[in-house]
């Protein structure tokens, strides 16, 4: 187990400005890579799984070291390694048309599975395929399985096509967990399932979830003490990956919340890589994942203009906690099912639009910006209708930019900057036309 109660102390001397919690987050993620790299010497089995529908508490019940291929891909994107991996995967037969997360991951495998931190990652013993909100996940793990020859286990999570979780959907997920997933994890790990252990992890999860929501919702204040998109990436890191349910994550979120509440009391805005953000001029809601290959450059375009993202749908991709969902230790299996069914990309388009409109209202946002990702049909298909509907319902301006997750070929800085600046001009004009509203 990698759970420890003590909050680790950061020893890094930052060349860029970050909150302490941001540095700690980075260290936690790096430490997980080290745990993965040394899993074999420690006699541990390795499970790979996805961020949406991530069953971290369950995997910990079987002592698995946890690898998240999406996180590997994005970390490689941040470290400018993904471009080569994608080209390698394309040379190996993958189409240029398909998801670049998949290709970045496959490219990493082709290069000897050297992880983002430079340590070799082990071949997984089990691929836990949480088929939540993304069809491509299924093919992704089939491809990895085809290369590695390791076993996979499917957790099929039905889509909320009708905008709600029907009992049939919940029962189906619960049954799969009880009759397929848990027995498979027991067999692979050699560890018997202990539901009380799961409950214990979930108690930790709920504390962390409570604090995360407080942090994310702090952006309702003016000025917002956080950036709910670029900054939130750091905040969601532990809870969306291998740490949800650990005391370490609980402590991380407790400290983070304190830090943010302190900023709130002091009336400070977000910390950016260039230090404290200046005057908050624009408050935006963002839909869609960020670009990772030029992450800092992308963020700078916003804070240079005084634009803060007060909330984002991407920060809900690994769990929609701000509308009340919490893992429930009293009903742990059912709670895991609810969690998977409720992840953002598992919501239908009308529900996503409702959510964005509510965000614009609750966070007093100036409008919506959609970062449409070439790789991600789950997010992207339908976003132009989302844009129109949100504009129609809120009367707030919306704008559309296009980038990719980890393929540097799809990030055109000048285009993105032009679009963003034009959009902010439009917001300004709208304000001028309706001064009473601001």
């Amino acid at each position: 187990m990698n759970a420890t109660a003590a909050m680790p102390q950061s020893t890094k001397k930052p060349p860029v400005q970050k909150e302490d919690a941001m540095w700690l987050q980075k260290e936690m993620i790096n430490r997980n890579y080290h745990e993965l790299a040394t899993a074999r010497e420690q006699g541990r089995k390795v499970a790979a799984t996805f961020v949406p529908g991530n069953l971290n508490e369950l995997l910990m019940c079987f002592d698995f070291a946890r690898s998240l291929p999406e996180t590997n891909a994005l970390q490689n994107g941040l470290r400018k390694k993904s471009g080569k991996f994608i080209l390698d995967a394309e040379r190996d037969g993958q189409s240029e048309d398909v998801c670049n997360y998949v290709k970045a991951d496959l490219g990493m495998m082709l290069g000897g599975e050297i992880g983002p931190t430079g340590e070799a990652l082990p071949k997984p013993d089990i691929l836990l395929l949480s088929y939540t909100g993304c069809f491509t996940f299924m093919k992704w793990f089939e491809l990895i399985r085809h290369k590695y020859g390791c076993e996979s286990v499917m957790l099929h999570v039905p889509y909320q096509g009708e905008g709600k979780i029907a009992p049939n959907m919940r029962n189906y997920v619960v049954k799969q967990l009880k009759e397929t997933v848990i027995p498979t994890l027991e067999r692979i790990s050699g560890v018997k399932f202990d539901i009380d252990r799961l409950r214990q992890y979930m108690k930790e999860s709920t504390k962390a979830e409570e604090d995360l929501v407080a942090v994310l919702q702090s952006a309702k204040h003016r000025p917002s003490p956080i950036d709910g998109y670029f900054g939130a990436v750091y905040y969601i890191g532990p809870i969306f990956t291998a740490f949800r349910g650990t005391p370490e994550a609980t402590e991380f979120y407790r400290v983070l919340r304190q830090e943010i509440e302190q900023r709130l009391r002091e009336g400070k805005g977000p910390i950016t890589p260039d230090g404290e953000m200046g005057e908050e001029k624009y408050r935006l809601v963002v839909e869609g994942p960020p670009n990772w290959t030029s992450f800092r450059e992308f963020w700078k375009m916003f804070y240079d203009e005084g634009a803060v993202v007060v909330t984002s749908t991407y920060a809900k991709v690994g769990g929609v906690y701000d509308f009340g969902f919490r893992h429930d230790p009293e009903h742990p299996i059912e709670s895991l099912a609810e969690y998977c069914l409720g992840c953002y990309t598992n919501l239908n388009l009308p529900s996503r639009i409702d959510m964005i409109c509510k965000y614009i209202d609750d966070y007093q946002a100036d409008g919506l910006l959609i970062n449409s990702i070439k790789s991600c049909n789950s997010f992207s298909a339908g976003q132009l209708l989302i844009l129109r509907e949100v504009e129609r319902r809120t009367g707030k301006p919306a704008a559309f930019i296009e980038t990719d997750l980890v393929d540097p070929r799809y990030f055109s800085a000048s285009n993105v900057k032009n679009r963003l600046e034009s959009y902010l001009q439009m917001v300004k004009q709208k304000r001028a036309a309706a001064p009473a509203a601001h």
């Binding site: 189409s95 048309d97 088929y131 096509g161 388009l349 132009l384 209708l385």
Partner: protein, 392 residues
């Protein structure tokens, strides 16, 4: 005066149905009896038996092909998303789908899935359902889920017609579709045996007619086509026998199918309109209909990229079996651009084929692809290589 051969007459009728984006056949069917309803569906599979049991016409919607200029539809999609949703939206926004009382969007990929939500927003007066199918193939798990999904659809359609659908209604419809499937299977077997007698450009049109005709009529049409095709002797060529794989959703233009044939390939199996033969054999029509439909789906259904292979060794088995059954000498992977399921599946299938020394080639298309020369060249080279060098 020259007499047009019956097979040509049948094909011409099918071609007219194929080209009729106004869905006049559906309108005529509805007009024949007041109160009739029609339900559209997208690829790959929906249980059409339920729609039929409700007394409704199920209508396969496969995009606009190369016949319409997409103007409004492009405003809803980014350039990196496949073409079928944008031309489908175009069809709807231009009133061509007004005769449909509802739409079913099966679980196939994220794009079609999200299109269901767009339909809910854009066409609020229509019945819309995202039809989920299980990826767990245990009767007690995926089967239970699926039976409940079938029941929900059955309830919805019953409400839409104003009278619940009985088991007797459903069993009668299961019989109708069993007959249709047998006819289509016979057509495929006939083509595999005599591909020069039943070119795929014709078989395709006969199959497409089943997207707008009532199943009883389509079954007869298929039977008539087989008989008429057999009656007209056509020259047999030394073509390469190929399976076409990856065209299960967005359709290639008819010209592309013709180009492959003209390049020296006999297409002896394909995955066009899998809904017509998704279930591999008869569904028992005297028991509990939903349970029987579920068992057929779970245990006796086709395999394609949208379906999870539970084990690594399952990958490609269905394709290899099709190659064997149809006597194919190679596989052409023809997938729509930006089709995640087909394009992500392809490298795995290619690997399996390579291991089994089955020749294969691959290209992409869009439903409005206009340049056929490169495809003809590639398919021609592939056919030549099979004829000249293949050891199988």
């Amino acid at each position: 005066m020259t007499t047009v051969a019956p097979v040509i007459q049948i094909v011409e009728r099918c071609q007219a149905l194929f080209e009729d984006l106004e869905l006049n056949a559906v309108k005529q069917w509805k007009a024949a009896v007041p109160g009739r309803k029609a339900i559209g569906y997208m690829p790959i599979y929906v249980p059409r038996e339920l729609v039929h049991a409700a007394g409704m016409l199920s209508v396969g919607i496969l995009g606009g092909g190369d016949q319409i200029e997409v103007i409004q539809g492009d405003a809803y999609y980014q350039s990196y998303i496949c073409r079928i949703p944008r031309s489908t939206i175009e069809l709807a926004l231009t009133g061509r789908l007004d005769c449909l009382d509802g739409m079913l969007f099966p679980s196939i990929c994220d794009v079609i899935r999200n299109l269901s939500g767009m339909w809910q927003i854009l066409f609020k007066d229509k019945y819309v359902r995202y039809f989920d199918v299980p990826q767990n193939y245990e009767d007690a798990i995926g089967g239970t889920f699926y039976i409940n999904e079938l029941q929900a659809l059955r309830d919805d359609l019953g409400k839409l017609r104003g009278v619940p659908i009985t088991d007797e209604d459903l069993n009668a419809s299961i019989r109708v579709y069993n007959a249709n499937r047998r006819a289509v299977q016979d057509l495929y077997a006939y083509r595999a045996k005599n591909p020069w007698q039943a070119p795929t450009s014709e078989v395709y049109l006969v199959l497409r007619a089943g997207m707008v005709l009532p199943p009883e009529e389509h079954t007869q049409l298929v039977r008539d086509y087989i008989a008429a095709a057999e009656a007209l002797r056509r020259p047999k060529r030394d073509n390469a026998r190929v399976v076409l794989n990856g065209s299960f959703c967005e359709q290639p233009p008819l010209g592309l199918i013709k180009s492959i044939e003209m390049a020296g390939c006999y297409v002896v199996d394909d995955d066009f309109m899998l809904v017509t033969r998704w279930l591999l054999d008869d569904v028992p029509a005297s028991g509990k209909p939903l349970e029987e439909l579920s068992k057929a789906f779970l245990h006796r259904s086709a395999t394609t990229a949208a379906k999870y292979d539970a084990k690594r060794e399952d990958k490609g088995v269905f394709l290899l079996e099709r190659i064997k059954t149809s006597g194919a000498e190679g596989v052409i992977f023809a997938a729509p651009s930006f089709c995640d399921p087909a394009l992500l599946e392809r490298p795995m299938l290619q690997d399996v084929l390579s291991q089994h020394k089955v020749p294969h080639t691959a290209f992409k298309y869009a439903e409005n692809t206009g340049q056929m020369a490169p495809i003809r060249e590639q398919a021609g080279t592939f056919a030549d290589s099979i004829k000249l060098w293949s050891t199988t």
